[in-house]
Subunit: 422 residues, 2 copies
Amino acid sequence: MTLTHDGPEPRRTSRRGFLGGALGTAGVLAAGGAGFGVARATEPAADGRVGDVVPFYGLHQAGIATPAQDRLAFAAFTVTATEADQVAQLLGTWAAAAAQLSKGLPVGAVDNSPLAPPIDTGEAVGLGAANLTITVGFGPSLFDDRFGLQGKRPAALADLPALPGDTLDPNRTGGDLCVQACSDDPTVAFHVIRNFARLARGTAVMKWSQLGFGRTSSTSDKQQTERNLLGFKDGTNNIKDESTADFDDYVWVGAESDQGWMRGGSYLVARRIRMLIESWDIDYLADQENVIGRFKTSGAPLTGKNEFDTVDLQATKKGGQPVIPIDAHIRLASPETNAGQKILRRGYSYTDGIDPETGLLDAGLFFICFQKDPRKQFVPIQRKLGSHDALNEYIRHTGSGLFAVPPAPKAAGDWWGKELFQ
Amino acid sequence: MTLTHDGPEPRRTSRRGFLGGALGTAGVLAAGGAGFGVARATEPAADGRVGDVVPFYGLHQAGIATPAQDRLAFAAFTVTATEADQVAQLLGTWAAAAAQLSKGLPVGAVDNSPLAPPIDTGEAVGLGAANLTITVGFGPSLFDDRFGLQGKRPAALADLPALPGDTLDPNRTGGDLCVQACSDDPTVAFHVIRNFARLARGTAVMKWSQLGFGRTSSTSDKQQTERNLLGFKDGTNNIKDESTADFDDYVWVGAESDQGWMRGGSYLVARRIRMLIESWDIDYLADQENVIGRFKTSGAPLTGKNEFDTVDLQATKKGGQPVIPIDAHIRLASPETNAGQKILRRGYSYTDGIDPETGLLDAGLFFICFQKDPRKQFVPIQRKLGSHDALNEYIRHTGSGLFAVPPAPKAAGDWWGKELFQ
């Protein structure tokens, strides 16, 4: 861990100090000792806003089979360090911080010493955990020739191919590492990204980030289905947290993986899907419903009356045309059209203000999905959608990321992908 | 109202149809008749998320003396129409829409007709009002020579002068009209801006917008003081909604105004204040506390122990230096230093991703304040802060707006500043 000496009496620590669970703020201050890294919660929340706590340590990372929280802060990082050991140290530091944050605690004391910078930036003090989950992934580029990890790259982490209709902005695409922070409080989620960027100083820099203001996918039978910015319910037939079988079949990496370190993990694909809402908004209701394949108000498939009625892709009208059009989004995205494949969707609505080129709102869906193998799931599904989906007239994929999400750290001192670095 | 004829059978309406409370979606479809504009709530919220409803009609506009909600969507518009009548029609249409939205209803039916675009964009259906308030203001530029309003410009709506330390981006500054949408649900707030932009088509275009993800100012004795992205509690000594006297003295325009149409209104100043959080985060705790004049964890003034203890600007240390430094933010911003003046603050934390020039997070405070006369309140206070505030090392004002906020529409058929156009 790099130490700078701008301040009075920076405390030195062993380079491996974080392994004991202690925390360092890279480039600023490092703190050693087993007890020090356990932050105090400097202020209990007084107004009942303290939410539930989702366990950080375990088998699978939190933030996948966790009921989707309301708000998202997502960031991709580029590693600037040149040694694998530095990457490992960053991941260890992040994991120790994540364990604290997931409990609603700061990464370290805000008021440790008047003559040192606060270890935590402080803005989330008093807000509790609000169901915070922190999910970390590794991009394909982490396995290039910089860190000697070439031989450990899973086959399933194949670069995403160019897909039909891609209009990707390189400044919103890729990354060596990703951090998905989800919480029911947006300040709690933002606080993670900010502090992770701070802890990364000298080792990694943020490449891009995305705030999601509203959950669009329900991932639990207990959640109401939300609407995306097209005004339609999204994720009615999503994989639900209650379905262990679906997770085993479609989400969690199993014995089939060529890389043992990924078993129990998953693959995250993120797509920043801008919606051309001004065009969408002048389309007729019936056309919108044909584009999606569902009724707008009820969310029912065009072959049903209620949201959860069966999607009948075979049903035809009098003239023999299918009730759910041949190019309807739900037809092309359905498991029946995709060799039975499913993905777990966990997306959020976003807006990033005005597009300076057009004066129109830059808004849409920050799509996130998890799966066992993107080569068999996201890629073929999106290839089909990108070629034929009637929705293509109204959307543009403007950013993209693919990340291997290893299993969760097991206990204090462990971190994501530790086996990779040993 | 401009009608286009892209669609089948657009319904024509009288140009004054909106006066009866009916709604039109400018440039697309206009709907007349007294009953039509009253939208149906197409789906009651099933999960208890429906928040309280803040009345839209009344004396003062909602969103000023309303307990600050958690989320903000703000937009400034440029009028592209050339006739005052068109501006009046837009304001009438917006007011009718705002009355609906404030009740948690769509601006018009989502499923009015399969052969017409939905009148409401639909994404907020089922979310309720969540304490939504919609506050509309007029920028100085609305009173230029385009609409014959020059003689009705209030003296207090004087252009903001250049202020010390300004680094304003013209693409985040100014505007003929502004819309402040606050709600406890960010989708509800965004939905307002999106639909207002849609209703404005052909009359006005969005100039800039800003999402605020977390409330930073408490405006009610019932609210906990929140922390801004500096990690400090913000707004401890703010004007509180419970203090009618403070509102009369500092916020509401009274008989002193040279323009009768502004009585009962207020003036909104918005400042996009970027925080250089990477620099701030390496500053020592004691220095941060001296910059602000408060303790970070407790929020107490440096002369006290608890958050709400009196700020004693006279207190000195042994050597005679003031306990609260001469350039501390709370000293320079305090009423005692500013001829007794106060402002009502109603700001939100924002982040807009990565600054492409530096690779650092573009994040900070979208500061909003309300006052009786910016010439006596915001301008002299900010002149002092901009010149001397120790905080200047860590912040940049990157956007700015000034708007006259007239009193509220009184009832259906009324709109903001109606007197101006008659």
